[in-house]
């Protein structure tokens, strides 16, 4: 494993058994997460974003399992973990998570202090007054004023944004190396979203965290991500730096995704939307999973799954369009305009 890679997915397959049928939620994903970076995984609902990150914490639902491949972390293969005991050494301690809905992710019957204290005791090895002080400090660190009073309060006494701060306080009280933010702002007010993203970013800098954002909101991505991985139907179709993916996207799905951003459309024009529905992952996907929804799909897209083609050392995409033999297919107009803007100013 490369020196600066902290977490590495290698040919990962994740399957779920549902009513006797097998669903291939993750289909052979390879992805490196670099130490200290901020990676955003984007994709529509059901594309496997959350499953991918949960597989690295042993938090798949009971009917899901890793069917193949490896997840390398610190020289260990997390995909080979079988017992809860092995996972307890990773959960929280190495990788922590902030979930989507702060209204439901805190125990309503315990004070927020008690819930932070649980993490402090487990991962900072503190007891008694020292543990309490650390928990109060965690509240202060996430920008909650009067942490001493707030420590003794219950979740229902907090607003949505404040609860998400508490969830973040719990996560950082674990002292993790990697922080997974699973749609951290989706359930929040637009005005609060920016505050939460700023908070995570400042904590990342302060604590030297690696952050992985899961989101379908490209606006969030543009604000926080160093790199972007675009997921479709259980696969990463394109990955690259933020600029590369936004200004020089190569996969037709990325084109479609960016074209459907309201910010890119012109006033008065109908907003672009992707035709069709994602493939049924209960069946085996042949060729490029996006081909049936792609009006410009090539013949080979329906037959053979494309490999990754490197666009630059940091940018690669899984599409036959990048094959030297492929015909020249122009991206839609919105995307061409983006290229011209290139580098200057975000979406």
């Amino acid at each position: 494993m490369k020196e600066n890679v902290i977490l590495s997915f290698e040919d990962l397959d994740v399957r779920f058994t549902l009513r006797g049928q097998v669903l291939n939620a993750i289909r052979g994903i390879s992805l490196d997460v670099y130490r200290g970076e901020s990676l955003a995984i984007v994709g529509e609902s059901g594309s496997g974003k959350s499953v991918l990150t949960r597989s690295a914490m042993g938090l798949l639902d009971a009917n899901g399992s890793i069917a193949g491949g490896h997840i390398w972390y610190d020289g260990r293969d997390l995909a080979a973990f079988r017992t809860e005991k092995e996972w307890l050494a990773v959960r929280g301690r190495e990788i922590a998570m902030v979930m989507q809905d702060p209204m439901t992710s805190l125990n309503p019957l315990k004070t927020v202090g008690a819930q932070i204290l649980e993490a402090v005791r487990l991962h900072q090895g503190l007891r008694g007054a020292a543990a309490r002080a650390a928990a109060v400090q965690a509240l202060a660190d996430v920008g909650i004023s009067d942490p001493e009073t707030r420590y003794k309060q219950y979740p229902h006494e907090f607003s949505g944004g404040m609860r998400q701060r508490v969830v973040i306080a719990i996560a950082i009280a674990c002292r993790p190396k990697i922080l997974i933010c699973d749609e951290p702002t989706t359930a929040l007010d637009v005005t609060i979203q920016a505050q939460i993203l700023d908070l995570v970013r400042s904590l990342q800098k302060k604590l030297g965290l690696t952050t992985v954002y899961i989101t379908h909101d490209l606006g969030v991505v543009a604000n926080v991500a160093d790199r972007i991985a675009v997921m479709y139907a259980g696969d990463i179709v394109e990955v690259g730096s933020c600029d590369e993916v936004f200004y020089d996207p190569r996969h037709p799905y990325t084109w479609a995704l960016l074209s459907s951003l309201p910010q890119l459309g012109a006033k008065g024009e109908t907003l672009y939307s992707i035709q069709g529905t994602p493939p049924n992952l209960f069946h085996e996907v042949r060729g490029d999973a996006f081909a049936p929804r792609n009006p410009q799909a090539l013949k080979i897209d329906f037959l053979k799954r494309p490999p990754y083609f490197d666009v630059s050392p940091t940018h690669r995409a899984r599409t036959w369009l990048l094959d030297p033999r492929a015909p020249r297919v122009e991206p839609p107009e919105h995307i061409r305009r983006l290229r011209e803007r290139g580098g200057g100013g975000y979406v």
Partner: protein, 316 residues
């Protein structure tokens, strides 16, 4: 919190007052035979003398005021037929301790067995074949579906035939307590198991459990600290009621094992038209039910921080 409790207590007092008044009004409608043990043999003058001495010929408001006054002094009146001339306080004081003793022991037993079964079932839903859950469900369905008289008799039959336990209760034989306690506890056991399992399964699927797992809390601690505790909240509301209702005894089990408890008293009193005894017993039952609900509400507020502080009530 204090305001919440005061409000509930006040509401309970008002309810009780209304019940007492209605009860009084209803009993004035009962035939006066209910105040004589051999109505046919007494002359009409004797009847009038008796009614006068009981104050039943006084104007109604005066009777009502006297009734309230007696109750406030803790006097439930005197039995006229069931045990003539004996104070109802005495009758009840003899019977209540027996019923309460059986009731409390079987309540404790059903709580322990029911919660243990519920926890086992909830855990077993996460295993492959769900054996515990299936077995528990069979037990619960049988107990709920079969009329209780049937399984009470089965227990009595099996216990006395094969385990050699005496068929009837006798005060000096501790072994004879076993079967009635078992019979009394089985219904509640199924009840607690069913609801605890259901609430625990509900809680286990909530987001905060996932977050607790994500922060690295071991499974056992999550079950104890988060899932079990939260699943108990809706159940504790019924516990005071269950404890208090042991005062009333069990009609069927007590007669099956000839236990001289409270169980059959009301039925006997009604059958023999002992007006004052009926009145006193209905009153006791009403007080027990109201207090059960009141304490349930208070206990609920103690364990659930969201209740006492929320401004709107009745959201449950």
């Amino acid at each position: 919190m204090l305001k919440y409790i005061l409000k509930r207590v006040l509401r309970a007092c008002v309810t009780l007052f209304i019940i007492i008044t209605i009860l009084f009004a209803l009993l004035r409608l009962m035939p006066i035979e209910g105040y004589f043990d051999s109505f046919d043999k007494v002359s009409s003058t004797e009847i009038q003398v008796k009614l006068n001495s009981l104050g039943l010929n006084d104007p109604l408001p005066k009777q009502l005021a006297r009734f309230y006054g007696q109750l406030l002094n803790g006097d439930l009146g005197t039995s006229n037929i069931y045990r003539r001339g004996v104070s109802i306080n005495t009758i009840v004081a003899e019977k209540i301790p027996i019923s309460v003793k059986f009731g409390l022991v079987s309540f404790a037993l059903s709580l322990v067995m029911g919660l243990a079964l519920g926890i086992w079932m909830a855990h077993s839903t996460r295993t492959r074949f769900k054996i515990g859950d299936r077995l528990g469900t069979v037990l619960i369905v049988v107990v709920q579906a079969v009329p209780s008289a049937v399984y009470h008799i089965v227990i009595q039959f099996l216990g006395s035939q094969y385990a050699g336990i005496p068929m009837l209760f006798s005060e000096n034989e501790p072994i004879s307590y076993i079967l009635p306690v078992l019979s009394l506890s089985i219904g509640n056991t199924a009840y607690y198991a069913m609801w605890l399992r259901r609430y625990m399964v509900d809680e286990a699927n909530k987001d905060y459990v996932l977050l607790a797992r994500a922060k690295g809390v071991p499974g056992g601690a999550i079950s104890r600290r988060h899932i079990f505790r939260n699943a108990m909240v809706p159940l504790v509301q019924y516990i005071p009621g269950s404890v208090l209702s042991t005062l009333m005894g069990s009609l069927y089990v007590e007669s099956l094992y000839s236990i001289p408890g409270m169980g059959g008293l009301l039925v006997t009193a009604i059958k023999r038209q002992d007006n004052t005894l009926v009145q006193a017993l209905v009153l006791i039952y009403a007080v027990v039910s109201i207090l059960g609900l009141l304490f349930g509400d208070i206990l609920m507020a103690v364990v659930d921080p969201r209740i006492s502080l929320s401004k709107k009530e009745g959201a449950r």
